[in-house]
């Protein structure tokens, strides 16, 4: 045996590490097979399907109204937005006009849901960074206040099932608006507190800045939407670009960042919470009295046709594509899965980074497995 004297290289080989489906920071039952060279990620292969329930098939066997509770189970941390997107699709299909008051209630709910979702997204992102549950619990405290409000109007804390075709299920109770006003007054201080807690933290900057960059072009090409797209520098928000519901009546900014790294995504979400609060505040002042539900039969029968409606859900563009064949159930219902499409670029984003970066990049994308697998 001869020894190479010129280069005494240790022979190493990459190995495969299996992340998930049960791993503390895969946010559900996501699984990826990572090929590693030491700590460096060479390649990952995502494996989906651990939460596949065939929601699209189930929609074909349920009435249009009966499918609303199931939309709660798609992206279960932002159920209100799912409800909204779905009922809007049915309304477009059936050509139903929604009463004014209901539109305002919907906007308030959708924006509160955005705050709640971003609280979870940022909390778990910081948790992935290793801040031992502190930001997570602080953010859950504020989310709890939002959940309280949702519970008040809808009677549930996670699967709200609040929106209905042609409006919302019930009017908001009398004690809702005072409680909301209190929340809107208190929340900006809390957001500032989160900023103080970790936004400038040198360790977080070192960990998240410049990590997991996705360029503008690539983000658009991958169909990425929501805060991730805006963090890459594309000023694109469906609330502005294609104002649905009554979003054209409110004043708000679209926060963007330029680098497209994990830290920017974190910052954009933080800023979006402030903007959402602004919208809620305006909607609260303008909300008119009146009916909250159009005259729509409980079992809707839209005419034959197809409709695609998308909204700016907290995670990005959430759309429902419905085909009706003039019956009480959808002929085909397709959900545009925001989380699934946002994962497209994960492989390019993590290649060459360390395991620890893989975790935080994944955390910064903010997916919900209920929506990825459906």
């Amino acid at each position: 045996m001869t020894i190479e004297t010129k280069e005494m290289m240790l022979r190493t080989e990459p190995f495969v590490l299996n992340f998930g489906p049960v791993h503390p920071s895969t946010h559900g039952v996501y699984r990826m097979r990572a090929t590693l060279d030491g700590e460096v990620v060479l390649d990952i292969e995502p494996v989906f399907g651990y939460l596949h329930r065939g929601i699209e098939k189930l929609a074909e066997q349920r009435t249009f109204t009966g499918f609303i509770p199931l939309t709660d189970r798609l992206d279960y941390v932002s159920s209100m937005s799912n409800n909204l997107a779905y009922v809007m699709a049915v309304e477009k299909l059936a050509g139903i006009k929604v009463p004014e008051r209901a539109e305002y209630i919907r906007v308030i709910m959708a924006e509160l849901q955005r705050i709640a979702n971003h609280l979870i997204a940022n909390g778990s992102f910081l948790n992935d960074c290793g801040a031992y549950f502190t930001p997570f619990l602080y953010m859950f405290r504020e989310r709890e206040k939002i959940i309280d409000l949702f519970e008040m109007v809808s009677g549930q804390r996670l699967t709200y099932n609040y929106m209905r075709v042609g409006g919302v299920s019930q009017d908001i109770p009398d004690e809702f608006l005072p409680a909301l006003a209190k929340f809107v007054k208190q929340m900006p201080g809390k957001v500032d507190e989160y900023d103080r807690l970790l936004k400038q933290n040198e360790i977080l900057l070192a960990r998240a800045k410049g990590v997991g960059i996705i360029s503008k072009e690539q983000a658009v090409n991958c169909g990425i939407s929501g805060p991730i797209l805006r963090a890459s520098g594309v000023k694109w928000d469906w609330r502005r670009a294609d104002p649905y519901s009554i979003y054209d009546r409110f004043e708000f900014d679209i926060p963007t960042a330029s680098d497209g790294d994990c830290y920017d995504r974190f910052r954009v979400r933080m800023e979006e919470m402030r903007q959402s609060l602004r919208i809620v505040e305006q909607a609260m002042k303008q909300i008119p009295a009146g009916p909250v539900r159009a005259e729509v039969p409980h079992i809707v029968r839209p005419p034959a046709g197809e409709a695609y409606v998308h909204i700016e859900a907290p995670k990005g563009e959430l759309g429902f594509y419905l085909v009706s064949d003039d019956s009480i159930a959808a002929y085909r219902c397709h959900v545009r899965p925001t989380s699934l499409i946002n994962l497209t670029a994960l492989r390019e984003m993590v290649r060459g980074w360390k395991i620890a970066d893989l975790i935080i990049i994944f955390g910064s994308i903010d997916i919900c497995l209920g929506e990825v697998d459906r």
Binding site: T63, T65, K145, E151, T159, R196, L197, L198, E202
Partner: protein, 165 residues
């Protein structure tokens, strides 16, 4: 000179955490401290009123899970349906509340209680008299504003906590 990169962020974070040491904790100790749930809560178990029910079967049709089973017979003498069996499989129920919403005669209520876990699956299937309202099965105000009026006000975290000591 800005002190952004010199550890000032760490110090700021430390002040936030230490200030929480002096605040009231947010949590409540569940079995001892009970908070009032929403007046509209869609709690466990469906509540059914035998008197109001006409046996139309709308609830069974609207149920997305098919958890409600209703068997009726025709009473020709009084020209109405007799409900022979009304059975709910709570194991399938997703507490969506669509049946309560759809019932044209207000004969259905969501439950107000939430600690109704069972040890066996068989016990989840409830029928007829088991579904009536009783002391441990109060009705919730979901789609029944008249009941909601009487229920205690929901405890809100935002009102309950005074964060400054």
């Amino acid at each position: 000179m800005k002190f952004e990169r010199y550890g000032i962020g760490i110090v700021k974070g430390l002040t936030v955490t230490i200030s929480h040491l002096l605040r009231h904790p947010t949590v409540s100790q569940y079995p001892e401290q009970r908070l009032n749930v929403s007046r509209r809560i869609r709690g466990n178990e469906l509540i059914w009123s035998r008197e109001k029910c006409t046996g139309c079967g709308t609830c069974a049709k609207t149920c997305p899970q098919g958890a409600i089973e209703i068997v009726t017979s025709t009473n020709l003498a009084e020209n109405k349906y007799e409900v022979e069996k009304y059975q709910v499989d709570n194991g399938y129920c997703i507490q969506c509340g669509l049946c309560v919403e759809a019932c044209p005669y207000d004969a259905l209520y969501m439950g107000y209680s939430f600690e109704r876990a069972k040890y066996r699956r068989g016990e989840l299937v409830q029928a007829d008299d088991m579904l009536l309202e009783s002391a441990e099965r109060p009705a919730s105000g979901y789609f029944h504003p008249e009941i909601a009026q009487k229920l205690p006000r929901q405890t809100l975290l935002i009102e309950r906590i005074t964060e400054k000591r």
